[in-house]
Symmetry: C2
Subunit: 202 residues, 2 copies
């Protein structure tokens, strides 16, 4: 690991902590420097503005996001779908993860005013949609899912459900488990070719 990599990792980690603890709205470069080995002036050397730094942070987050959501193409399509649902709708019992989701919703709410945020955030939804689309298409081909399923439309719908569950969970504290259960019922009824197979997303 080069010194530069170490600095980047340190800044990304500090941004993560600062977002969790302070939220996005009032976040300053000083809040990030306070949680970092890097001084505020060195932060400014690496990133001109808070905005640049946050975009770099979103890039790093996206890399870990890809790792978390990738599924094994050879596994059973229903198991792969269950893994995606479990990852997307886990209750995030640990406080830090909840706090990050909260800060991400703030950034999302700024996306209409900020094309760079918008482009970066779009990639997250697009990645999950592509993953679900592929899983569903594989499942249809394997005869596990109904052959009248439109993978594209279903994937878009699933991502919409994920986003809705998150926004309700963050802003009004609804449990994600209700959405998991309803999605499981939906998949059992509408997606599975075998009417007797049971689905549980936990």
């Amino acid at each position: 690991m080069t010194e530069n990599d170490e600095t980047t990792d340190d800044i990304v980690e500090a941004t993560y902590c600062a977002l969790c603890e302070c939220g996005y709205a009032g976040l300053t470069m000083q809040d990030i420097a306070d949680r970092s080995e890097t001084s505020k002036s060195a932060l400014h050397y690496h990133y001109d503005t808070k905005h640049d730094l946050l975009l770099a942070f979103l890039d790093h987050l996206y890399d870990s996001f890809e790792e978390r959501f990738a599924t094994d193409p050879d596994a059973d399509p229903l198991d792969r779908l269950a893994a995606v649902v479990a990852e997307a709708l886990d209750e995030a019992d640990d406080e830090e993860r909840r706090d990050l989701r909260t800060a991400m919703l703030e950034i999302r709410a700024q996306a209409p005013y900020d094309d760079a945020f918008r482009d970066h955030l779009d990639k997250f939804d697009e990645y999950i949609a592509a993953e679900v689309r592929e899983i569903v298409a594989d499942g249809v081909e394997a005869g596990v899912f109904r052959d009248d399923t439109d993978p594209e439309a279903l994937a878009e719908f699933v991502v919409t459900v994920f986003d809705g569950a998150h926004v309700r969970s963050i802003s009004t504290g609804r449990l994600l488990s209700a959405t998991r259960e309803h999605l499981a019922e939906y998949v059992e009824r509408d997606l599975l070719a075998d009417a007797d197979r049971e689905v549980e997303f936990s």
Copy 2:
């Protein structure tokens, strides 16, 4: 209409315009006063803080929301559901309505840090959920909807889908029509008792 009512209406209208034009994040009392017949000092006489004013604004918005979403209890349950979907997921071609939704998402993203916002916003989701729950229960009773439907769970799911469609529409510009179409398919397959009846939400 008393003078007081007129002032309230003026302030609510000005807040609406200011939110649409300026968004929530940087909104000031001056922005609102600039769009109002009421001076900034008079604004402060009526509302101590911007926060108080926004809560009053949310109350007014909620009243119009109730009017928009109420359906005729004697109408066909599927038509009532279609009316709710059409109202919740209309494309909001007029710019002002889109801008208001954008500002509302910003307020929503602040809800985790602000119990009063959270309580106020919860009422909106709760109102739609209650309306859908009642429509579905009436439809089950009338034999229009399948009798193995859980009105409570379905209503929560529908509100989650509405919220997800909005957040995607606002933050990444997805069309709401895709969600309307998928919901129609879902209702046709999973909710209607009569397998031959077709559903279109437009």
